[in-house]
């Protein structure tokens, strides 16, 4: 029983990206990018200047959400420009023909996840 619990813990730790991913995707230029578990759309997808912006709200700390995405990008061979700064994540990422920016930040106690492409 103890071994079973240990194995589950090890498996969950090793796959922490999967662990926090409930299966929802945001579609960017036809490619599905995982949404962290619990993320909910915060308003409608918007177009500002010449970019599309999709914002999600989630009840998880900024650091946890930032680490989730940084690990996802690393494991999936994305090129990343930028990183964590002043308690937020601000990156531009690229893989093959998919390119977008991701900003994870806190506003009014809520963590917002913003995809720009």
């Amino acid at each position: 029983m103890k071994i079973k619990r240990y194995l589950i813990t090890v498996l969950c730790s090793a796959l922490c990206v999967t662990q926090a991913w409930a299966g929802s995707l945001v579609s960017i230029a036809g490619t599905g990018i995982p949404l962290i578990e619990g993320a909910q759309p915060a308003g409608r997808e918007a177009v500002q200047a010449h970019a599309r912006i999709a914002t999600y709200a989630v009840s998880r700390p900024v650091t946890e959400v930032a680490d989730f995405y940084l690990q996802y990008f690393k494991e999936n061979g994305f090129v990343v420009l930028g990183g964590k700064e002043n308690g937020a994540l601000d990156v531009a990422v690229s893989k093959d023909a998919v390119m977008f920016s991701l900003k994870v930040f806190s506003e009014g106690g809520t963590t917002l996840v913003q995809f720009i492409w």
Binding site: G43, H50, G82, A88, S94, L112
Partner: protein, 257 residues
């Protein structure tokens, strides 16, 4: 029940915030929403540099390069924006002009270097650094270019850059280059002037040299086409001189803080 309440509260907060990742910019003293982060902006500039140097090569006068570097280092040290590495160089062009590529790549033409003393040059370098600190170029790019094109230029030299997109990347590089060559808005020019004078003052230069620099240009030091070229990319000379006459005493009194 607790989870439902928390979920509802999150949605209400998010809808009320209509979240945009605005950041306070100390140079403009405003909160701004910039899509393009600093590393991306730097990468864009780096990928546009070869295009610029193809059209306008560097000056081989090491004395001029050293002079602009020395002044540039002093200005960069007092800039509000420290998250990029500024670079300063002189182009061989005899035209009276200066320009800035995204990410802090600042170029001054040899013609302007020769016509201006160090204090006047500090104003010009401060003005260009002001455009960088105020993120004017990033704002201009995101306002006028498709975001995919901007990112395409940033990732042009990335290991996984899509070769099939080479044509699009070249188009993006051209678009950024042409954007740099166009004038800034009236608001951006005034803002870069104020910031530039502030940096020149903080770096120990004489801020009123900004007036003599603009007057020199206006009264036609050198041939007329050279002056016209400067005012095509940096217009509104009379209004800028007037505004600076008002702001310089104020900045001096405040010690440029």
């Amino acid at each position: 029940m607790k989870t439902v309440i928390r979920y509802a509260a999150t949605l209400v907060c998010a809808a009320a915030l209509c979240g945009c990742a605005t950041m306070y910019n100390p140079a403009t003293e405003r909160k701004e929403f910039i899509f393009i982060n600093s590393q991306t902006e730097y990468a864009i500039g780096k990928n546009v540099v070869p295009e610029l140097l193809k059209k306008s090569p560097l000056s081989d006068d090491s004395r001029l390069q050293e002079r602009v570097s020395q002044i540039g280092r002093r200005i960069a040290a007092v800039s509000d924006r420290k998250d990029i590495t500024y670079s300063f160089a002189v182009l061989a062009d005899k035209d009276l002009n200066a320009l800035t590529l995204p990410g802090g790549h600042i170029y001054v033409n040899a013609g302007l270097m020769e016509a201006f003393n160090d204090d006047e040059l500090a104003y010009v370098v401060g003005h260009e650094t002001g455009h960088v600190a105020a993120r004017h170029i990033a704002k201009k790019m995101q306002a006028t270019m498709a975001y995919q094109l901007i990112l395409g230029v940033a990732f042009a030299s990335a290991a996984n850059a899509n070769i099939q997109n080479a044509g699009t990347i070249a188009k993006g590089v051209d678009a950024v280059y042409n954007l740099v060559d166009l004038s800034y808005s009236r608001k951006d020019e005034f803002e870069a002037d104020t910031i530039g004078v502030k940096y020149a003052l903080k770096a120990g230069f004489e801020p009123s040299a900004a007036l003599s620099a603009l007057e020199k240009l206006k009264q036609g030091e050198g041939s007329n086409w050279k002056v016209l070229r400067y005012f095509r990319t940096h217009p509104f000379a009379d209004e800028r001189i007037k505004a600076l006459k008002e702001s310089i005493p104020r900045l001096k009194a405040k010690g440029a803080l």
